[in-house]
């Protein structure tokens, strides 16, 4: 088979059915990535640390959701517990460990994060076991897919896209419009001044970390019904989230959204046009962005 299948790609672009299916498929991949990447970018923007253990939060979110769902049978409660439980872990992780290495060398931060990647994976292994698990689709969503302009769209994925978009809007507005949002942005810009004004920066840092963790946890919870759960499942998601933040620009929420959607669309349309090069396409795109705009599409120039 040829590495290039342009007929399939142009054929798809010409048909509304295919266009709708592939675009929504790109959005699904993109929106989950966005939830993980936006936490990563938020933590970096405010705390100036790259949280390499962010994938573990995604994993915790999925496991919490699965367990809650098994005990309660309520999907909404499962989502809530997935997000809230992960937020608590994020807070403990930041206050207990990350806060001790803020001033330290980046290598030190990397080591602490990597240690926790291994620790968190083993914790999951101890509690839930090494074998893969599946949460199962809630009965409410075990329905036939919708057909929109001939394209196939599963209802669950509509919910998924909706929740992620809502999170993006709330987050964006919250940062711009509310007082807490302003304080967070100020802390990102000049933590010393914010602290001098009598604001508890430790609380803000912990809060931002918890928020980042919560978003990743929410992504994990939303993914749990369709993806298998294993210790270490956060790793591949983390890699793609890094690509997203690099493309969108470290610290930019809009950048994370656009970056994630672009990656999603590249995957969905790339698998048609370049079946043997879909992964490579993603990295190629990242290289192009890095060469033309080293700070990412929406990244600010480093002062």
């Amino acid at each position: 088979m040829l590495p290039l299948d342009l007929d399939a790609l142009t054929g798809c672009l010409a048909s509304s059915a295919c266009l709708v299916t592939q675009t929504t498929s790109g959005f699904i991949i993109g929106m989950l990535l966005f939830l993980v990447a936006v936490g990563l970018t938020l933590i970096f923007g405010v705390l100036k640390v790259v949280n390499f253990s962010h994938g573990a939060f995604y994993m915790f979110g999925a496991y919490f959701a699965m367990t809650t769902y098994q005990f309660s049978g309520s999907f909404a409660l499962a989502m809530l517990c997935g997000a809230a439980g992960t937020a608590i872990i994020g807070l403990i992780f930041e206050r207990g460990f990350m806060s001790r290495v803020y001033g330290a060398d980046v290598l030190m931060q990397l080591l602490v994060c990597y240690a926790f990647v291994l620790i968190f994976d083993d914790v999951v292994r101890m509690i839930w076991g090494p074998e893969f698990k599946s949460m199962g689709m809630p009965a409410a969503f075990q329905v036939a897919p919708l057909f929109i302009a001939g394209g196939v769209v599963p209802p669950y994925y509509l919910l998924l896209i909706g929740v992620a978009l809502a999170a993006a809007v709330v987050l964006g507005l919250g940062l711009v419009r509310t007082r807490i949002g302003k304080v967070i942005r100020a802390a990102a810009h000049n933590p010393g001044m914010v602290s001098a004004l009598g604001i508890n920066t430790g609380l803000i840092y912990g809060g931002v970390f918890a928020l980042g963790g919560m978003l990743a946890g929410l992504a994990g919870a939303l993914a749990a019904p369709v993806r298998s759960l294993t210790p270490g499942m956060g790793f591949s998601v983390l890699i793609e989230s890094f690509i997203v933040t690099v493309i969108g620009g470290m610290g930019s929420i809009l950048g994370a959204l656009i970056g994630a959607l672009l990656i999603g669309l590249i995957r969905s349309f790339g698998s048609l046009g370049f079946p043997l090069f879909t992964e490579g396409l993603m990295y190629l795109f990242m290289v192009i962005v890095l060469v033309s705009r080293p700070t990412g599409l929406f990244g600010r120039e480093v002062a």
Partner: protein, 419 residues
């Protein structure tokens, strides 16, 4: 300056001898025990993503060892298993295997590694000349390629080419009956996925020449999301889909394809579906997926097989896997061979193993045979059927025909230059 010593036994030597004597006489069970036990070394994967398979291998071995020891062990010697984790890394598997023989004094190796590790352990067996039974590697070349052949290595696992022949002929019959001409494939992008898919397609086309592959997808191993692969297959609109995804990848794929209603739009052939690890994990298993048997206690539908599956479940609180029966078979064969040779000596047992036919719960006709010419297992139960969402999961299994397998295997060996 040198010191001269009086002739005779020195004080130090006397002390040493007394010490040795004391140990010998005070704890005579050490000497007896060493003659009476035989250590069998087993490198397998006990951590990482496929740890479940390694654990199920260990469980099956321990289950069988208990029976053999209760009946007197290998030619009167009690078996002691030494099981080590290779973490699924070939170099680690080779290191562990060497250590098991050289340091731990194991006289037999059970190589419960996946294919990558099995070839590494095979080289250790070649080097040390120790009796080695490969229990999990299904890669055909391990025993089919004469360059790999050594007199002290055997295999009690399925063989890829056997599966492809049976799978291909089963699929071709359905393709002809239902007029399935347009096929798609979706398999993990690494050696196993590529080779298995290629062999399967070869035999499918051989039995049903007008089949055409219109779409191929090669997702990465352990990829979390298959949405783009699912929608791509939907766009291609094939009449049938083949996949050799396995474990968590297969269950993810099913969950994600399910909400696109993919399974109602085409016939799906997933060789690794009918394994309890996948069957019991998928919450909404679609009806009617075609799958090869891996281990299932209802096929062969004999009381022996059901009893074996239940005994395993009673002891370990989960069902056995494909790797379980393959490892259990190794112990059953060893026990029978040492009985025949009346010895636990590696060379004599190897001699007895060649061509040995034993009664087995996993045999197509109640027996399995260690084929003498290439020292690999034949006659095991092999077949395909369709799934239902609850036990027994695959109610009807259509048996593969060993006569056809032998014919086509011989032909395949010729085409590869192996025979």
């Amino acid at each position: 300056m040198t010191r001269t010593r009086k002739p005779g036994v020195s004080r130090r030597a006397t002390l040493a001898m007394m010490g040795a004597g004391a140990v010998t006489f005070a704890t005579p069970w050490v000497g007896r025990a060493q003659a009476k036990t035989i250590k069998i070394g087993m490198p397998t994967i006990l951590s990482g993503r496929v740890a479940q398979l390694g654990t199920s291998s260990r469980n099956a071995v321990m289950l069988e060892i208990a029976k053999v020891n209760a009946a007197g062990g290998l030619a009167g010697r009690t078996i002691e298993m030494v099981i080590r984790d290779s973490k699924g890394q070939p170099q680690e598997a080779a290191r562990v295997a060497r250590e098991l023989v050289n340091t731990d004094g194991c006289e037999i190796l059970i190589d419960a590694e996946a294919s990558s590790g099995a070839f590494a352990v095979h080289e250790v067996a070649r080097d040390l000349g120790v009796l080695c039974i490969h229990t999990n590697s299904e890669t055909s070349a391990l025993t089919a390629d004469p360059k790999q052949h050594i007199p002290n290595a055997f295999r009690t696992a399925r063989q890829g080419v056997h599966d492809s022949i049976v799978g291909g002929s089963y699929a071709a019959a359905i393709a002809k009956a239902k007029g399935l001409k347009k096929w798609a494939t979706c398999s993990p992008d690494y050696a196993y996925g590529r080779d298995t898919t290629a062999e399967y397609v070869t035999y499918l086309k051989r039995f049903a020449p007008d089949v055409e592959i219109i779409s191929e997808s090669w997702p990465k191993l352990f990829q979390p999301d298959y949405t783009e692969v699912v929608t791509k297959i939907l766009q291609a609109k094939p009449q049938a889909l083949y996949s050799c995804l396995w474990g968590g990848d297969l269950t993810s794929y099913i969950d994600q394809a399910n909400i696109y209603a993919l399974f109602s739009q085409m016939e799906v052939f997933a060789v690794n579906m009918a394994d309890y690890t996948a069957l019991t994990v998928v919450k909404n298993l679609p009806k009617g997926i075609h799958s090869g048997n891996r281990y299932i206690k209802t096929y062969p539908a004999t009381p022996e097989n059901a009893a074996w599956g239940d005994a395993y479940k009673a002891k370990y609180n989960e069902y056995p896997t494909n790797w379980s029966w393959e490892n259990a078979t190794a112990i059953m064969l060893l026990a029978e061979a040492s009985k025949k040779a009346n010895s636990a000596d590696g060379k004599k047992v190897a001699e007895a193993l060649r061509g040995l036919k034993i009664k087995s719960p996993f045999g197509a006709d109640g027996t399995v045979t260690m084929r003498a010419e290439d020292q690999t297992l034949v006659g095991y139960a092999i077949g395909w059927g369709t799934t239902i969402p609850q036990e027994p999961y695959v109610p009807q299994v259509q048996a593969g025909d060993w006569k056809t397998i032998f014919e086509l295997e011989a032909e395949w060996k010729k085409s590869k230059g192996y025979a």
